[in-house]
């Protein structure tokens, strides 16, 4: 099963380094924080890629799933489970499950509506979720949800990024993944070659939002405070920009897009306001010269499953 050692050794080394860094506390906390943001952004971008890239929809509501995951995971880690890092992964998964359930709510209208109509449906969901959290006194409304413990560290960020990428890779390179891409290329033809498009859409939306929820949970347990405004349209727009910067339909593109965008914005901080004049101009230029994003839909390395040509 594991013919190539690289896919095992590389993550293992990475995890080893992360654990070492966490234990010895030897990485500059600022750099560590940025690396964790990059991890969270990769999860967000790659999971959005499943719906926007592979399935060809245009969801603008990814921040909503992130919000559900963030609130859900925080609720479980604060109020349900004992407040111990041991239960952190479980809280994250619970947050992910809630986010996945929210994803189901979008999948159902997606049976009928497509394209821009679906974009509006996801937008509406985002507004509703935000408005709901604004009106929930339990979660502090706009004042935000406090007291979340800092359980996210380099190791967890790494583990979940790796889990997300492996899971998405395995799904994309399976019967289900082919179904998802078939829906993008030609939905009617897809049903007429026996693909259950409803099932495929549910699957894509639920998995995508599940991982967005995981990212939300990691995010909440990193900055230890969340409020509804964090998960606004701006957040969704950021994820969209990272996705299409790297190139949709490519997991490696998502890694690149999230990494470059996060580092670029951080490195350009000294520009102040002008950062948001320069960054969009750069993005426009990129789109003109590489309309498909950096990767242009191509996959790289282990993320692309090689066909055995016997």
């Amino acid at each position: 099963m594991f013919k190539k050692p690289l896919p095992i050794i590389l993550p293992a080394c990475g995890l080893g380094i992360c654990i070492l860094c966490d234990v010895l506390n030897c990485v500059d906390p600022y750099i560590a924080q940025i690396i964790m943001y990059i991890g969270i952004n990769i999860i967000l971008t790659a999971s959005l890629n499943l719906v926007n890239g592979y399935m060809g929809e245009f969801s603008v509501g990814h921040a909503a799933f992130m919000a559900v995951g963030a609130y859900g995971a925080s609720f479980f880690s604060l109020s349900v489970f004992p407040q111990s890092p041991v239960f952190f992964p479980l809280s994250l998964v619970m947050g992910g499950i809630f986010a996945g359930a929210a994803g189901l709510l979008v999948a159902i209208p997606a049976f009928k509506a497509r394209d821009d109509y679906l974009a509006i449906i996801t937008l509406a969901l985002l507004m509703i979720v935000k408005s709901a959290f604004d009106n929930l006194p339990f979660f502090g409304g706009p004042q935000g949800y406090y007291g979340i413990h800092k359980f996210t560290n380099l190791s967890w960020a790494f583990v979940w990024t790796a889990v997300t990428l492996v899971a998405l890779r395995n799904i994309v390179n399976s019967n289900f993944g082919r179904g998802i891409i078939a829906v993008r290329d030609d939905e009617i033809a897809a049903t007429l070659v026996s693909i259950n498009t409803k099932q495929v859409k549910i699957l894509a939306f639920v998995i995508s939002s599940f991982f967005a929820g995981i990212a939300g949970g990691l995010f909440a347990h990193l900055i230890q405070f969340i409020n509804p405004r964090t998960f606004s349209l701006v957040k969704s727009t950021d994820i969209l920009l990272m996705l299409y910067l790297g190139g949709s339909g490519s997991l490696f593109g998502s890694i690149l897009g999230a990494t470059i965008w996060t580092i670029l914005l951080e490195a350009l901080r000294f520009l102040g306001i002008w950062r948001f004049v320069v960054a969009p101009l750069a993005l426009i230029a990129l789109m003109i010269f590489r309309p498909l994003g950096i990767m242009g839909g191509k996959e790289l390395g282990w993320l692309r499953q090689k066909e055995k040509l016997s």
Binding site: I171, D186, V193, L309
Partner: protein, 265 residues
């Protein structure tokens, strides 16, 4: 005319469908046996493709019944109907353009891969076995169609003739009992048509499928079809041996209006 014998693969009775006020298909009847190749011909807009759409669940018929293998498949969603063994190609080729030929054909057997999601997630043994078997099957199919050496190319990059072949291979991948071919000969020259006819006959023999063929090219119809049905404005105006076509006045009228003229390709 009694109960459907086991020989009847599909029997369609009184199928009707209209778009708004327009009767696209009315009272369509057809019984296909296991070894048949039926042809459906008729002028443009006669409702031929609509019949295919009704059979494959794209549209729900207003009335009528479709019995396939002794089972009423009327009103089932498309993917279930395909899963039961009816498979089709399209008038204007509808391949999954961004996918490789291999993946296109694999999609054709989507319904045959029954592993659960977690199996794909964790790359379980079931997953590897089923995917391996499927890939092997698909490769044999592609070999037969002479596509094996190009199977990693994307569908959009292939020439037209090969795209038609890929579509046919994709339709066969689900292991159908009945194959619906919608104008497979469109845009081909006479010698290519001969090659296509050979291919269809070979496929039929090898996979034991019954075929319903929509076609304008009489060369193909005459060579392949044992029986033909002629539609005009949704009505069946002729049914029988293709040799009887040229002499039938209604058919000639449908194509050429009231003045008579030659009706041979």
């Amino acid at each position: 005319m009694t109960n459907p014998s086991s020989l009847h693969l599909i029997s369609v009775s009184n199928l009707s469908h209209s778009f708004g006020g327009l009767k696209a298909v009315s009272n369509f009847n057809l019984t296909v046996n296991k070894d048949d190749i039926w042809g459906i011909i008729g002028p443009n807009g006669a409702g031929k493709t609509t019949v295919f759409n009704l059979l494959t669940g794209v549209y729900r018929p207003d009335s009528g019944n479709v019995i396939y293998n002794g089972e009423n498949i009327n009103g089932l969603p498309s993917h279930k109907i395909i899963g039961k063994g009816i498979s089709r190609t399209f008038q204007n080729i509808r391949l999954f353009r961004s996918m490789s030929i291999l993946d296109n054909v694999r999609c054709g057997s989507y319904c045959r891969l029954g592993y659960p999601l977690w199996s794909a997630l964790f790359r379980s043994k079931t997953f590897s076995r089923m995917e391996g078997e499927q890939t092997a099957r698909v490769k044999i199919l592609l070999d037969e169609f002479g596509l094996a050496d190009r199977m990693l190319e994307t569908a959009a990059s292939l020439p037209y003739g090969l795209q038609r072949k890929v579509e046919l291979a994709r339709a066969l991948a689900s292991g159908p009992g009945l194959l619906l071919l919608d104008e497979p000969g469109a845009g081909m020259n006479p010698s290519e048509l001969d090659g296509l006819a050979d291919l269809i006959l070979r496929v039929k023999k090898q996979y034991g499928v019954a075929i319903i063929l929509i076609e304008h090219r009489m060369q193909l119809v005459m060579r392949l079809c044992g029986r033909v049905k002629v539609l005009n404005f949704g009505e069946t105006i002729f049914e029988g041996d293709p040799c009887g076509l040229a002499g039938n006045e209604t058919v000639v009228k449908a194509y050429f209006g009231d003045d008579n003229g030659a009706f041979v390709n």
